[in-house]
Amino acid sequence: MTSNDVIALDGVSKTYKFGKIRVRALEDVTLTIGRGDFIAIAGPSGSGKTTLLNLIGCIDKPDAGRIVIDDVDVTRTPLHRLSTLRLNTLGFIFQTFNLIPVLSAYENVEYPLILQNVSPRQRDARVRRWLDEVGLADQWKQRPDQLSGGQRQRVAIARAMVTEPKLVLADEPTANLDSETATRILDLLAEINSRTGCTFVFSTHDASLIARAQQIVRIKDGHIHDVDAARAA
């Protein structure tokens, strides 16, 4: 791992148990991802894309191997520190948007800043800025059920970006959107990536999304099949 890398996986394996059946989701995965990259993890359903994102996102632990995120060995970090790491270093965008339904667009974006103990004035400035960036300045009062799918995903992007993370993980971010909205969301993600230098890693099997990635990590049966640039270790 070099100082220019934000993620490094070394010999990472993960197996799930379903009763007596063991399913190997990832096996001996080694990969590095550089700062500012815009990377697609591509592969068919069940290939291990989501497992890989979960492990990078510190919401699951590997059975073997080592994962380093922004110079922190997360495989040796206690659980309570991982929530701080997720809050300050990572941003999440989910396929099903996963907004808090009882909070408005503004409050959803504000929530992580409250966890970070950001002052009310700074919170307000940052929330308004990011709602403006994603084009929802006028919809700040609306609750998720009053927004379209594309608007909800924009709120989710604002929520992921408002903490100024080093890495944003997006699991099938356009899977629940029509193609036109998906393209706009993709444009937005690419634009944020180029402007902020934040690393984006997204899982997808959508060809149009794969085509927009700077690098593509192809994954199959829990193994990295190929990486289109020479970044695999």
């Binding site: 799930y16 989701a25 989501t50 497992t51 979960n54 996102g57 919401i59 699951d60 659980l79 309570h80 929530s83 701080t84 997720r86 809050l87 300050n88 999440f92 989910f94 099903t96 996963n98 808090i100 339904p101 009882v102 909070l103 409050e107 504000e110 929530y111 992580p112 409250i114 966890l115 970070q116 929520r159 992921a160 903490t163 699991d171």
Partner: protein, 400 residues
């Protein structure tokens, strides 16, 4: 944000929260009404016992307690007048009343019955207002051979006001003595066993019959029951050669009723506690199951497990606060309506007259009802909160 989230999540499933709140409100209202009824009953029983029968304090000659069962008049007060003068100097004392208790036989010439007589000072006895006259008049002030007779005893002896009876008892010297008395009136205190044996007579008549100038005891009545112990100490300091008992020592029935009602109230509290715990726990648990993905999201974006626990406990607190406030309001309004409604209850066991249902809204009752609602709702949210905070993020998000 935590409070806002908690309140909004409580309102999220309106119907379910409404059912839970209804349970809490019913519990709180039940506690307020029964607690208020209990408080009013205790207060009423205490004051009627004190002001109608036993006084706040009873003053006897020293040694009376030990000898009481054998020869009470041997330990009677020989200088009651000077003792009462000293006691009545205290502005907290409303009045004192001399009394003698005696037992014997009463006869109408054809039939005899045993009696228990209370010899009183007629004006003081009228002030105590402790009986209902069903026929005839109260005891006259200056007629030492007039008596009032209990309703049951009057029926047994077939007497009416104006009739004459003979009463017979043992004098302080131990010999038998009898006197003819005129029935001035017939009375009841509402307790059948007492009405079947009771006679009231002027203290002067009793002294003639017992051949003594002494009185058995002095009843001391205060303006305020709360001053009982303080006045007790003052009398003890100022008057010598006496012994004093407070009303609390002389009212075993009052203490039995208090113990019984407290037992019932405690049981009711446990039932309400259990119902509220299960109801609120059920509501929040269902909410946890429904919001599994949301819980996963909150943890994924950096919410600590501790904060998540607090969030769900805050929902329990919110339900408790809303339910408690609604319960207090509705309970107080119902109590007000009942007190205005003049609802009559049937006579309790051993009594012959019913009484008016009244609810006393004491701060202690209202605070207890609110705390039971609030604390139980909070406690019931702990298990669901732990369940939520122990979820594996990856499972909660539904991503495998």
């Amino acid at each position: 944000m935590l409070i806002k989230l908690a309140f909004r999540n409580v309102l999220r499933n309106g119907r379910r929260s409404a059912i839970t709140l209804t349970v809490i409100v019913f519990g709180a209202v039940g506690l307020i009404l029964f607690g208020g009824y209990k408080a009013r009953t205790f207060w009423g029983l205490r004051e009627s016992t004190i002001r109608g029968r036993i006084g706040h304090l009873q003053v006897y000659k020293e040694g009376y307690s030990k000898a009481q069962s054998q020869k009470p008049m041997e330990y009677a007060l020989d200088d009651a007048a000077s003792i009462r003068k000293q006691i009545e100097r205290d502005p907290r004392v409303k009045m004192t009343a001399a009394q003698i208790t005696l037992m014997g036989l009463v006869s109408n010439g054809e039939k005899s019955e045993t009696f228990i007589a209370t010899a009183v000072e007629p004006p003081k006895d009228r002030a105590m207002n402790n009986q209902k006259i069903t026929a005839g008049d109260d005891l006259p002030d200056n007629e030492s051979d007039a008596v009032m007779i209990g309703k049951g005893l009057a029926e047994s002896l077939h007497v009416k006001p104006g009739d004459y009876l003979t009463i017979m008892t043992t004098t302080v010297a131990g010999s038998l003595n009898a006197m003819d008395v005129r029935v001035a009136g017939i009375f009841t205190i509402g307790v059948k066993e007492y009405d079947d044996r009771a006679i009231k007579m002027p203290i002067a008549g009793a002294q003639t019959l017992l051949q003594t100038k002494k009185v058995e005891k002095l009843l001391v009545f205060l303006n305020n029951t709360d001053d009982t112990s303080a006045v007790h100490q003052t009398i003890n300091r100022n008057v010598h050669g006496i012994e004093i008992k407070e009303w609390s020592e002389l009212a075993p029935f009052y203490h039995q009723v208090v113990a019984l009602y407290n037992g019932i109230f405690g049981f009711l509290g446990i039932v309400v506690f259990a119902i509220v715990v299960f109801s609120v726990a059920n509501t929040i648990l269902m909410s946890v199951f429904e919001r599994t993905r949301e819980i996963g999201t909150l943890m994924a974006i950096g919410t600590t497990r501790g904060r998540l626990r607090t969030m769900f406990v805050a929902e329990g607190v919110s339900i408790g606060v809303i339910g408690g406030v609604l319960g207090l309001t509705i309970g107080a309004l119902l109590a007000f309506a009942i007190n205005k409604g003049n609802v009559m209850l049937p006579p309790p066991p051993g009594y012959t007259t019913g009484y008016r249902l009244q609810i006393m809204l004491q701060p202690a009752v209202l605070i207890t009802a609110f705390l039971v609602s609030f604390v139980t709702a909070t406690i019931s949210s702990i298990v669901p909160a732990l369940k939520a905070s122990r979820m594996k993020i990856v499972d909660a998000l539904g991503h495998i």
